[in-house]
């Protein structure tokens, strides 16, 4: 037999009934959707805290000194009225008690609960000899609750609020049922809050364009206004490098061939053709393309055999493509194209050979496996097109030079504006 038990959601304060107490470990709050760990007596909040705390400017638990007293932010509320939304932070000091920090439209106010109630009428009140006039009257609702409070508070609570103003100081009254509380709110400089408390960056006011321009002109090294010229020099140098690579890598000559490779069979040797390296040294590029296949790879062992000395230069290429479906959905890996670069190939005439073999993943197809719909079908093959060319160049080198050229002005730019 199970016993029902009620717990209070630490996120919104709502009451939740656990119907299978003793069995239930996690429970979603039906009021705010927070996931709770109810296996512990103190009902831990699992997922909602981080999500909710990201909505607030001040991190709960952070401490700061305001008006010569060190306060700790222990609670936070997000509240809204028909025309505004703002945040309120409950500050605590064991000797001074509780205070409020209110953030609305980027402006901060410091709030103190009044023990002596103002006197007055509907349109104005008098407090400690000073008159405050009615500024706003509306119903406000609590939308997010985080942390701890000295009274019972829950998401969705509504109170009737009246605000009375005198210059930049305000008196705020909140009425809920028969209870009325008064709070004095005085403006406080944002730097006085952002200094001592940890305020999230997105809640800090953004610097205006003029400040950015001034920051740019006063950044270190700006007396040498050579950065645009450095970018131009880098661009020009990269252009020259491209031209040089193009001029010095030629002339180009290509041969090509096409053949089929049986999947799972022994490697076969094919001749692609004969190429002539006409400069003292040249790059040779071999491009491989295949027909469409899944879950196979084609090993390509290339050899450039010097026709005069019979010495060979070897390189390895591969074309592989895999596809499947797992818990994350369909996936693919690899491509049906491969490129292999030979460097420092000396002048001479070369026969280009390739030892090609294809295999299946996770295993080769069995040779005796026949398609039941077509028992006379041929074994599975992969068609491979190969093209070997002299006169190519290394794109890896080109992009390395691009990084070395543009890296310098980019580093200077970062150094100037790292703050």
């Amino acid at each position: 037999m199970t016993v029902a038990r009620a717990v209070t959601c630490p996120s919104c304060g709502g009451s939740i009934e656990i119907r299978a107490a003793g069995y239930t470990v996690t429970l979603a709050c039906r009021h705010c959707g927070s996931v709770l760990d109810v296996a512990h007596e103190d009902v831990r909040l699992i997922t909602a805290y981080k999500r909710a705390s990201a909505n607030f400017a001040i991190e709960l638990g952070s401490r700061g000194t305001l008006l010569d007293i060190e306060w700790e932010a222990i609670g936070a509320l997000e509240r809204r009225s028909p025309g505004a939304i703002w945040q309120e932070y409950l500050l605590f000091n064991p000797y001074a008690g509780y205070r409020w920090l209110v953030l609305a439209d980027g402006e901060w106010q410091f709030g103190t609960l009044l023990l002596d109630r103002p006197e007055g009428s509907l349109s104005s009140v008098k407090w400690r000899g000073q008159t405050y006039t009615l500024d706003d009257s509306s119903e406000i609702e609590t939308t997010i609750v985080l942390g701890e409070f000295y009274w019972r508070v829950a998401r969705g609570d509504s109170v009737q609020c009246k605000t009375f103003a005198r210059g930049s100081s305000y008196l705020s009254s909140e009425a809920s049922g028969t209870e009325v509380t008064w709070t004095q709110l005085v403006p406080i400089d944002r730097r006085d809050v952002e200094g001592p408390f940890v305020v999230r960056q997105r809640y800090k006011p953004r610097p205006d364009l003029r400040a950015i321009r001034e920051g740019y002109s006063t950044a270190p090294g700006m007396d040498e206004n050579d950065l645009p010229m450095m970018f131009l020099v880098a661009l020009g140098a990269l252009f020259i490098i491209g031209i040089l690579q193009n001029l010095l890598s030629g002339p180009s000559q290509c041969v090509s061939n096409r053949f089929d490779v049986v999947v799972g069979a022994a490697d076969t040797t094919h001749k692609i053709g004969t190429i002539d390296v006409k400069r003292p040294w040249q790059f040779v590029t071999i491009k491989a393309d295949t027909d469409k296949f899944d879950n196979r790879w084609v090993d390509l062992d290339y050899s450039l055999v010097d026709r005069r000395t019979q010495q060979s230069i070897d390189a390895y290429g591969i074309v592989e493509y895999y596809a499947g479906t797992d818990s994350d959905g369909p996936w693919t890996e690899g491509s049906h194209h491969g490129e292999t670069l030979f460097a420092r190939v000396p002048r001479g005439s070369y026969d280009v050979y390739v030892d090609a073999g294809s295999h299946g993943w996770p295993s080769d197809p069995r040779p005796d496996t026949l398609d039941p719909k077509n028992p006379w079908s041929a074994p599975s093959t992969v068609s491979v097109w190969l093209a070997a060319c002299t006169g190519g160049y290394s794109w890896g080198m080109f992009w390395t030079f691009a990084v070395l050229l543009f890296g310098v002005p980019c580093l200077i730019l970062w150094w100037r504006h790292q703050d």
Partner: protein
Amino acid sequence: MSKRLILFSLWSLFLIAISGIATWYAWSPFADDERPTSSAFRGPTHK
């Protein structure tokens, strides 16, 4: 022309020269002719 710009221009000239020499001798650290030949079993590596 600042001293820094002169130094950077010299750096650019040095890289152009290196690029020209590397292309003339067809040298690249990204070549595939020093990679091991095929022998190992292969398969998808993203999982």
